[in-house]
Amino acid sequence: MDSLSSQFYKAFVKNNRWMLYIKGLGSTLEVTLFAALLGLVLGTLACLFNMKRGRSGKRTVGSAIAYVYIDVIRGTPTMIQLLIMWNVIMAASKNKILVASLAFGINSGAYVAEIIRGGIQSVDPGQMEAGRSLGLTRIQTLKNVVLPQAFKNCFPSLMNEVITLLKETSIAGAVGLAELTHASDMVSSATYQYMMPLLGAAVMYFAVVKLMSFLFGILENKLKESDMR
């Protein structure tokens, strides 16, 4: 059994292996960023359609599609969705970042849709009524009045979703994407040692999550300032 310092040397220093982790972390952050943005857009749209009802009070076609999307995505494992995206839907693509971003973005969108629904439901219905009574359309009132308040209300949950997303990208190694977990795997197979590479990856994930929480906290306080109670 190697000494700890020798393990450390093999895991990070030898052959410039630390570069693998850094590159892996880069891919992890790239996929997280794209997926978070896609998830926010998809989730907002899915939420609005999901909550929409026709004049008769029944779901519209768009609403039904949004409902099925949210239901199916939340009801199946992310890993299966990722494998379907890589092996079936985007089988022609070799761009792993793109495929992973799509898969995780579509996955995240379903959760974001439910978070935003909670945010919208926490806004006093009188806000929508006031907007409509002035002659504004539902969409105009949503965009200018309800959604800004809803986003503020559910901001902590949304940021939590981004953090979850970051950690979830660790399964993207399954399609060969060289993200952070995959990098630690590569090193483990080269050195036949597991502790240091896994510990290294864990520390890096943890550091990024702490940094993100810190930044989100500042943002959250900025949002509260406009409350002026």
Binding site: Q127, A130, S133, L134, G135, Q149, S226, R229
Partner: protein, 247 residues
């Protein structure tokens, strides 16, 4: 010459919430410039009646007309109708995320009725009338209920409505703030605005209304000019109601 057509005509208006028949056939016509006050016990349907007029509640049956537009016809562009009918709510419903100025100018600017400068200028004029011009850049949460309600009235007036609907505008206010809101409403009435007001302020009804309507069990039980309405109520339910509220 034929009598001038009423501004608002309500024909056999019905509204059910499930098996609860809140409105059971309301017929009424409101002439331009009239001030109508609706009173009645809680749950009698007076607020629902008001909310059916601008389709915040969709009637189960009957017709509501504004001029020659049927408000509850599915083919009618309801947003156009609502631009002509202001509404003031019990809980003010100012937009929490916007400043007072943006609260007032949002609708006319987004709907393309005025450009931003015109809208702001008009908003300032209206704010001066209610002595709140210095609050233009404040957020609603920093203002008292009375101020918020006066601003809610201004927000509706900014749209140049032909009729104003008031849904218990003073019920959520601390007693010392009721007067300042009623003053604005009285002034508005004197200027000739057509008004439909649901309220428990009997003194206001007596002073401002052309007609007072007593609504109970989903129908108009009694309608009269305020002097007669309060001095000689005929309906026994109204007599009972007035004996409770006029003490």
């Amino acid at each position: 010459m034929a009598e001038e057509q009423a501004l608002i005509r309500v024909k056999d208006l019905r509204k059910d919430f499930g098996s609860n028949h809140v409105l059971r056939g309301i017929n009424y016509e409101i002439q331009k410039g009239q001030k109508i006050v609706l009173v009645g016990p809680s749950g009698c349907g007076k607020s629902t009646f008001l909310r059916c007029m601008n389709l915040l509640e969709v009637p189960t049956g009957g017709e509501v007309w504004l001029d020659d537009v049927q408000v509850n016809d599915p083919k009618t562009d309801i947003n156009k109708v609502r631009q002509r009918m202001g509404m003031v709510f019990q809980h003010f419903n100012l937009f929490h995320n916007l400043t007072i100025m943006d609260n007032i100018t949002l609708a006319p600017v987004k709907l393309g009725l005025m450009n931003r400068e015109e809208a702001q200028e008009k908003a300032l004029q209206l704010l001066r009338r209610v002595n709140l011009a210095d609050k233009a850049d404040a957020y609603p949460h920093s203002l008292s209920g009375g101020m918020q309600q006066r601003i809610a009235i201004v927000r509706s007036l900014e749209m140049n409505p032909e009729v104003m609907l008031f849904d218990e505008p003073t019920s959520a206010l601390d007693p010392e703030m009721v007067g300042e809101v009623l003053d604005v409403m009285t002034e508005l009435a004197e200027e000739g605005m057509t008004m439909v007001v649901v309220t428990h302020e009997m003194a206001f009804a007596r002073q401002v209304a052309n007609k007072v309507l007593f609504i109970d069990q989903g129908v108009i039980q009694e309608e009269n000019a305020p002097e007669e309405f309060f001095a000689h109520p005929k309906n026994p339910r109204l007599q009972d109601f007035l004996s409770k509220v006029l003490k």
